[in-house]
Each structure stands twice: as C-alpha cells, then as structure tokens.
Symmetry: C2
Subunit: 274 residues, 2 copies
C-alpha cells in the first residue's frame, strides 16, 4: 500500500475555473482504493500521520489548517471528524458547528461569526457546515434576494484568499451521497431508538428540495473552488471511502505545508537540572 | 478486570474539609491496579465508555462536564487529554489552555476569561491549567497581595458552586509527580531534538521554587476540594497509572450523571421517506 494522495486529490478536486459537473461525480467510487480493508488501513495510517504533522504544526506555531465540511443531512460530517481526526484528538483539533445564526450573529454580516471561529496558529480547525450555508440553504429557501447571493461568491473567495495569505491553508470537502443512500440513513435513524434524537422531521422538507440543493451546491463548486481554497467532491455513500479519501487529501496538504520543529536558541549542554 | 471506580475515586479524592496532606500522597501507586497491562486495558475500556456516555450527554443536551487539569511543568496534562479523551475526540471535547493572561483579560477579574470558556451543554470541557493558577503561580510569585489571594479560595468555591447548580459537573485533578521524575522529563526534553521546543529555560526557575509551589498546591487542595467540585490527587510518575486513574474517575462521574437519550416526540411509523 503506497500513499498516493496526489492521485486521489486530483481525481476528486474541482479544478478552479472549470465546471464542477456535480451530477456526473460519483457518490461511490471503486477505482481509487483496492478494497475496504486497504481503504481502512490507509485511513488509519493517514490519521496517525496527521497527528504527527499537527504536532509539528503546533511546535512551529506560525500556520493553521482549516477544513470545511459541507453536505446534506446524514452525509457524514460528524463521522468524518471521528474517522479522520480522533487520532489527533481534542488537543490539536477545534470543531465549530454552524447552526441557524442567532440574533447577535444576524446583526452582523454573515462572515462575522465565521471569522471569529477560524483556527489559531498551530491548530487544525474544522467547520461542520460553514459560511457556505449562506449560498446553500439561504439561497434555496430564498432568505435573501438573489442579487445579494450573487455577490457572496466573490466575497467568500476574497475572505478565503485573505486567510490563505495570512498563513491558513484551506481545504473544502463536499460529502456527496446519493438520494437513495440518504433514504437508508434517515430510515436507520427512525429504526434505532438511540438515534431518534438525530432525526428531525424538518430534514424531510430539505429532502423534497433535493434538486434545488444540488443546483445550489453545483454553483457553489463552480464559483468557489480556487487555487488557494479548493473544493473536493468526496464519494460518501461508503464511509470507508469517504474517510480514506479525506484523510489522504488532508495528509497530503499537511505534508506539503511541511511544518518544522523549531530549533532551540540554546544548547542542550548549557543546562544542568538539579 | 472489574470496573471499581469508587475504590479509585475514594483512594485519590481529597475529602472536603479535611487536610489534603499532599506530602504524604503517592506520586506512584502500586496498590490500585494489578499491573501495567491491566491498567492500560482499563484506561482503554474507560475511554470507549466515556465516548459512549458523552454521546448520550450531547443527545440529552442539558448538562456538561468540566475537567480541570492542574500540575507543574511536565506533569502530563497534554498526555492526559490524549490518553483519556482521544477516543471521544474533538467532536465531544473542548480543550482550553490558560496561559499568562493578556491585556484584555487582565482588565477584568481573574474569573472572567474562565467563565467564557466553560463547556456548553452536551460537551466535556477540559481546562489545561485554570483559574487555580491565580492561587498558585500568582501566589508563589507574589503577583498580588496576600489578602487578595486569601479571598480567592472562597470566590472560586462560590463560582464552582454556581456552575454546578446550573448543570455542570466538575472534576479537578492535580497531576502529582516527584521532583526526581520532573528532572527526568526535563532532561528528556533537552535530549530529544523534536522536544526542544517544549523546553523553556524559565521552567527551571519554577523548579527552584518546588517547596513554595508544593505549599501553594496544598493550601489550594485544603481550601477548594468541595462536595460539588472535588479535587483528586493523581499519582502521575507513571503515565499508565495516571490515565487509568483519571479515566476511571471521569467514567464513574459520567455514569453517575446517567445521561439519557431523549425520547422522540413522534412515532417512527408516522414517517414515510420517499
């Protein structure tokens, strides 16, 4: 098993400036990994590597990594955090879940609460949903006028460019599942009592707007995949494929950042510990 | 292997109102666990149980757990987070490290930044250092007058009582290591290049004040171990003992809280997912 993250990265990346062709992208993908066993082993090895790299990122103390997770209900955002980042743990990873904005947040522009939550230097920050909701659910539900939405793509690109130029590497993942897979997952929440709390009857309303959401996602991918903050569309019908793919891309990005342990400004020999 | 957390809890707890007798407490402790293998297995099982319990705590959504970690340099605060809480992961655990207060923090009372950082309902919050620094390093270094320090013990108890009465269970752990063990750990930081960044020559200044710090810790334990927020003194010379002990006490506390998955206000049969 070799670590060929570049193959995985380019297969799933949305090339900046090119149409994302979302409807033609796989929700399950059998040509990237030999089989489930290999995929799981790869994800595990990647998780350990991410942990080591984050330790160096912290020691270095000058840059951060921001991972944006977007996807419809049941697409596996929480599962991705567990599968890819638990090895790293709460010490190195900071998760922010963005829900319906509260009164104070609505009293500011939509990027205000997002900027507050970006990871500090040395950390991996994860956005579970993000500012992209402001061009997804907000657009589909018509919560703001169309011309306001239209401005947002460029505003978001400018914001992300700013973060990137100031030391934050950005990776964005759309967890892509089929309509049939969502049905199975919602059904499972109905059938398992310990998962009842995860089922929100309102989710079925969003499901009725499947096509509208798919269109909004496609426009988002077309307009906001940039060199400094690329989108990847992750086949997520199978959890092991999702974890193997995302962990590979994250690990590859961290290896490219190449965080270095700082050199001491003292000589080990100069200290005697009494 | 049975899970006898109550034995471990009472052996290490500082009984409210009784002298902590810190100098007589073990930094290594061979009577709590049969051997290293058993201790590690116990810690692993506990970590999995803590993860399951936190999931229910989140689903329930009405209470939180706050874990305070205090200890001198190299006592293993970061290692505890990894060893006990990585199974739970960044989704369920929020770590706040308290360093030297910044200008804005110093412009407020010393509990201001602490209150801002308490865990939201459903989460486990970990304080890596805490408001107790304000009766430890601040006292030893004489940064505020003695009568101001003297007031703080009761202020802290009142603050913690407030949190406890409002749904936050509090556990406080002092990671107790011997002076000789600290020497070995500081020495290791000097010898391993990838650990050089962790070595701060200033730590040696604190080491020279070993007795003063021990006295300040003892007073803190005597005055601030309460029924609603008890201190435990954890033998921490051996990492596996530390992890086995802390994970047992945390698991026991969560089992006592007994978080419950909420019952759905709908009947599974009433939904058809198209």
């Amino acid at each position: 098993m070799t670590f060929e993250w570049k193959t995985i990265d380019s297969a799933l990346r949305v090339e900046p400036g090119k149409p994302s062709k979302l409807s033609k992208r796989d929700t399950a993908c059998d040509n990237l990994f030999a089989d489930k066993r290999e995929g799981e082993a790869l994800a595990k090895a990647n998780a350990k590597a991410i942990d080591r790299l984050q330790d160096a990122l912290w020691a270095e103390g000058s840059r951060a990594l921001l991972v944006v997770l977007q996807g419809i209900d049941t697409s596996g955002k929480d599962g991705t955090v567990r599968g890819v980042f638990n090895e790293c743990g709460p010490l190195g990873v900071n998760v922010t879940a963005f829900g319906t904005p509260n009164e104070q947040e609505l009293a500011h522009d939509y990027l205000w609460r997002v900027h507050k939550a970006v990871p500090r230097k040395g950390l991996i920050g994860i956005f579970n949903r993000s500012h992209y909701e402001d061009v997804l659910v907000v657009k589909v539900r018509g919560l703001v006028p169309a011309d306001v939405i239209e401005q947002r793509y460029a505003q978001i690109n400018a914001f992300e460019r700013h973060l990137s130029e100031n030391g934050t590497t950005i990776l964005k993942f759309m967890l892509h599942i089929s309509k049939d897979e969502q049905r199975k997952r919602l059904q499972a929440r109905l059938e398992e009592p310990d998962k009842h709390w995860k089922f929100n009857p309102g989710d079925l309303e969003d499901r009725k707007l499947w096509t509208q959401f798919a269109n909004a996602y496609e426009t988002m991918l077309d307009r906001c995949s940039t060199e400094h903050a690329p989108w990847h569309v992750i086949p997520s019908d199978r959890k092991w494929q999702r974890n193997a793919a995302i962990s590979s891309i994250v690990r590859g990005a961290l290896e490219t950042m190449m965080p270095l342990y700082p050199k001491a400004r003292w000589k080990p020999g100069e200290f005697i510990i009494e």
